[in-house]
Symmetry: C2
Subunit: 335 residues, 2 copies
């Protein structure tokens, strides 16, 4: 048998192995590897922490993506993780890997995009590291604080907290980012609205905070694709889910640009950085009453396999070839 | 004029530009970019945060360095930063960039080294990200907590807190790591004591915590080389410093292996991950009384340029060609 490579195993299996590393987690750890962000108690506060990387040629197309947008995205994907915990981002540590021949102007543009995102979401850059690397890469670790109730108990949106009978609801529209990536590859300009959705996603931070206050127990950010991300919720909660295809929110731009593929892009495309909530109907009502625009797309079910099923108007299951991607497997999404 | 590349500008200038990015730092931020770690208040606690990367071919020699040692080092260099703030490391976020053809066995070895370090220093792995990359790289963000006094005020070791008349004292011996790197390049085995010092540095975490308790106000970890790191303290404190060459602690192994270069390796070599303290004599006395092995190597001076001077027995200044390195400049240290 040939020795196994990481591309055979895939990202999620490697993350699972990583989860087994380290000292026995202290009591202060509330949420470890496997959710959108980690959470622990520090004194009377809840600290949230997450990290995400963008690598040139893997996560963005260096010749098609303005550096400014790379800077925005490198931070905003982490903001999305904090939003998916119902928390508030505060401080970022930024690591840049740069080939020595990178123009300083490119780094300044990247910083400008970082700054725009930092100002927009109230993040301060508290640390950083700059290293020589064969390919440009940016890794952001983002720290924040989680909400607590009146008695100091943590209020967090967790992936494993879905229960049978919960409604599934999403913010915004889905599929625009994947459609924008497709248009970017076709040479569309950066100000195309779909390309914009891809390059400048805007996670609904306030919706996450309002959700924990409204009693929503479960959320995930839609980064890998609706069905893939809902699949994480299903596996971690040990429950099935149904999504009604007709209820998945699609933008007018998406329908117009890709009428045939709009649903597939919305369900499998990824990088929308919207939030998916699972919650009792009463909590969803409260959240909508608080002014959050939501679309109810289905519900959590008690029976069957712990995976999502996408249903057509007649209740028959729809399948796509791909639901999200796995960053290490060859031939999968570069975005 | 040709457009400027990052190799012309260097790491520290890029970090300075990064420091200008982001929203106005909130009041809760105590220490931002420029120290060993960032520090902020979260409720009644002090959160410490730092990040460091190792890139194959830049920071380690992939064909000569066991993956297990890469795993140890990736975490321990961050532990060293937390030690240099007088704090306690708690949680790590680990980002791995891996070429798809990386053998799973290599990742398992890397995880084993990470685990050894995590157990040794009481760190839990709380999160991670795994991405495809053209070259193996590991970035660790390490979070910890800082000490406070009886009234809840932060007790931190800061680079900018040196004062004229402070003594300079270091833990351990210096130069072993740089000597070990040289021997590793010559083909020495991994169990050579100097190679061991290079591959498995052991930051004196407890010494940092005892130092803040003893009233030491200023420290830095020796990662870039004694004179380079003392230079950071001088610049940030706006003061000069003298180091007596005869008092720089050298191990017997270093003297035996490189009798001619021992002092140069100790002063300019880097990656020792020992601590350099600047403190009033009374605090140094207390710290030594608490059982910390220290060597007093010089003192902080009020006059002259804000840079360190290395003096021979006659009081004349010694100079080396290189004092530390800058990670982005070509031709500088690969370790």
């Amino acid at each position: 048998m040939a020795p196994m490579n990481v591309s055979d195993l895939g990202e999620f299996a490697l993350i699972d192995r990583l989860a087994a590393v380290g000292a026995t987690p202290p009591e202060s750890l509330i949420v470890g590897i496997g959710d959108d962000a980690a959470a622990w108690r520090s004194g009377d506060a809840i600290v949230l922490a997450t990290t995400d990387s963008l690598v040139a040629g893997v996560h963005f197309l260096p010749d098609r993506t303005p550096w400014r947008d790379v800077g925005w995205k490198a931070l905003v994907v982490n903001v999305s993780d904090i939003a998916a915990m119902g928390g508030t981002p505060q401080f970022a540590l930024v690591t840049l890997g740069l080939p020595p021949d990178t123009p300083v102007a490119a780094v300044d543009d990247l910083y400008a995009g970082l700054r725009e995102c930092a100002v927009e979401y109230g993040v301060a850059i508290a640390g950083g590291d700059i290293v020589r690397a064969p390919q440009a890469a940016i890794t952001v670790a983002l720290l924040g604080r989680g909400e607590t109730d009146d008695r100091g108990r943590p209020l967090l949106l967790r992936r494993d907290a879905a229960r049978a009978g919960h409604l599934l609801a999403v913010t915004g529209t889905l599929g625009d980012s994947a459609a924008g990536l497709r248009r970017l590859r076709e040479g569309a300009p950066a100000d195309d609205p779909l390309v914009r959705a891809h390059l400048r996603p805007r996670p609904p931070l306030e919706a996450g905070r309002l959700a924990v206050r409204a009693g929503v127990p479960c959320a995930i950010d839609i980064s890998d694709g609706l069905l893939e991300d809902l699949g994480h919720v299903c596996r971690m909660s040990g429950l099935g889910a149904v999504v009604r295809a007709a209820d998945v929110p699609l933008s007018a731009e998406l329908r117009a640009a890709f009428p045939e593929d709009a649903l597939a892009l919305a369900c499998g495309g990824g990088e929308d950085y919207q939030l998916l909530f699972a919650a009792p109907p009463s909590a969803i009502d409260l959240l909508m009453a608080a002014g959050v625009q939501l679309t109810i797309i289905g519900e959590v079910t008690g029976e069957g396999e712990p995976r999502p099923r996408l249903l057509d108007a007649a209740g028959a299951e729809l399948r796509f070839d791909s639901g999200g991607w796995d960053h290490l497997r060859p031939g999968t999404g570069t975005s």
